[in-house]
């Protein structure tokens, strides 16, 4: 007997029926959804990478730090790693869709990056990256936020660089600052130049270039906001990062 007849006989005897087409459709949609989810999360990772890269002081880094220091401290490796995992997930899931195998790895990675970068730039411009960075910092103990990541450079008062949060406006010529190691400083800013439309009020994070006076006093020459404010990410703007000029 031929194989086709043997198979037909078994199908009849065991009352076999084709599996429901919906189970296949569902499986296909599941892989599509996972691939799209990986693109969306990848776009958020890219938004945070843009946020980190855009808010670094590259000119100052290259002036005062070594290339190894810059490479080691300023790049968001965690997010690069997450992005790599997401690319693999998107690739794996897309390849599992019905005709996903027709696309080469090169083409899929290109499509992934193009869509993630476009979407990521949109997320960044809407302010998602800033919100996520802050949320992760609050919720995940191992997470290093932008401020902490910049501390290697900005927590160096001896070399004239200090950063932290304004905790009290003492008078028009000075304010109190809590640095990234929670140490309190008196900052003299009567001759300081304010950049990035930074707002001189409590609760905001700033970067200061100047010179140390003594163990807890610092004379500011230049004050900048910690987050660059000239991108249109206003949607999630909160009191911590206002756009007003010095209002004191």
């Amino acid at each position: 007997m031929s194989s086709s007849k043997d198979a037909y006989k078994k199908i009849k005897e065991k009352h076999l029926e084709p599996k429901s087409k919906y189970s296949f459709i569902l499986k296909n949609y599941l892989f599509w959804s996972l691939a799209i989810l990986a693109i969306i999360i990848g776009a958020l990772a890219i938004a945070i990478i843009i946020f980190f890269l855009y808010n670094q002081d590259w000119t100052l880094y290259f002036k005062y730090a070594s290339f190894i220091q810059i490479l080691y401290f300023s790049l968001p490796y965690l997010w690069f790693a997450i992005l790599l995992i997401l690319i693999s997930l998107a690739y794996f899931n897309f390849r599992k869709t019905e005709f996903g195998y027709r696309y080469s790895l090169k083409k899929l990675i290109l499509i992934y990056f193009a869509s993630s970068i476009i979407l990521g730039s949109l997320f960044y411009s809407l302010g998602f990256a800033q919100v996520l960075d802050r949320t992760f910092d609050q919720k995940l103990p191992f997470y290093t936020n932008l401020h902490q990541r910049c501390s290697w450079f900005w927590q160096n008062p001896q070399e004239g660089r200090l950063s932290g949060e304004i905790i009290e406006i003492t008078n028009p010529n000075q304010f109190r600052l809590k640095d990234l190691k929670d140490k309190h400083w008196t900052i003299y800013d009567n001759k300081a130049m304010y950049r990035n439309r930074v707002n001189r009020k409590t609760g905001i994070n700033i970067r200061i270039i100047g010179e140390i006076v003594n163990d807890n006093e610092f004379k500011a020459q230049e004050i900048k906001a910690f987050i660059h404010q000239d991108m249109p990410h206003n949607l999630f703007r909160n009191k911590k990062y206002p756009l007003n000029e010095r209002n004191n």
């Binding site: 031929s2 194989s3 086709s4 007849k5 043997d6 198979a7 037909y8 078994k10 199908i11 009849k12 076999l16 084709p18 599996k19 429901s20 087409k21 296949f24 019905e98 005709f99 195998y101 027709r102 696309y103 080469s104 083409k107």
Partner: protein
């Protein structure tokens, strides 16, 4: 020779069924499993030959594998998408099932080319050799089977099964560019072996 197959009282006219497209038979099989016999009969000879070419299994073992392929095909019939050629789809199932069967048996494919294959090779010799050497078919046969599985698979599909690049890509679930590269390398390696 009669083209009518009788099975359990059901008369199947193989000649008449030839007028129906694969897609028609798939749709009819989903409603009535008897039509699946027509569909499977249509692919009996080529698939059996393909299993033997791929695995080197003897006729009986290859028939057993094919029977399992048919059952698998029937169970998954509603997942068939007409955007794909039915032949590519059933070849894909056959390929995957044969390879998994070989893995289960812990055996490597054995050299197998039936006499008809030599005719195929001869007719495709312009694809095979860019040298002036006189083509020795036995050598070509041996050379194909001495290649790595990934090269052998594409060569069998291209030369012996006479599949187009897109069909090979659909059967092996690889991008067409990859298939093209594999074929180029396979032909190159084949030439190197034969020239040696």
């Amino acid at each position: 020779m009669s083209s009518v197959v009788v099975y359990k009282g059901m008369k199947i006219d193989i000649q008449a069924s030839k007028k129906l497209s694969d897609q028609n038979l798939v749709n009819m099989s989903l409603k009535n499993k008897d039509y699946f016999l027509l569909l499977s009969t249509r692919y009996e000879a080529p698939l059996l030959r393909y299993i033997r070419r791929l695995s080197g299994l003897n006729h009986e073992d290859a028939q057993d594998v094919l029977q399992e392929v048919y059952i698998k095909t029937y169970l998954n019939l509603s997942s068939y998408n007409p955007k794909l050629k039915f032949s590519s789809w059933i070849y894909r199932i056959t390929h995957n099932h044969t390879m998994s069967e070989l893995r289960k048996r812990h055996s490597r494919p054995i050299n197998y080319i039936d006499p008809q294959d030599l005719v195929f090779i001869k007719s495709n010799s312009d694809l095979l050799l860019e040298t002036d050497n006189k083509l020795n078919l036995e050598e070509v046969k041996r050379a194909i089977y001495s290649l790595k599985d990934k090269y052998k698979e594409v060569l069998i599909l291209r030369i012996l099964e006479e599949k187009e690049y897109q069909e090979i890509a659909d059967i092996l679930k690889k991008p067409m560019g990859t298939v093209s590269t594999l074929l180029n390398r396979a032909f190159k390696k084949l030439n190197e072996i034969i020239i040696k």
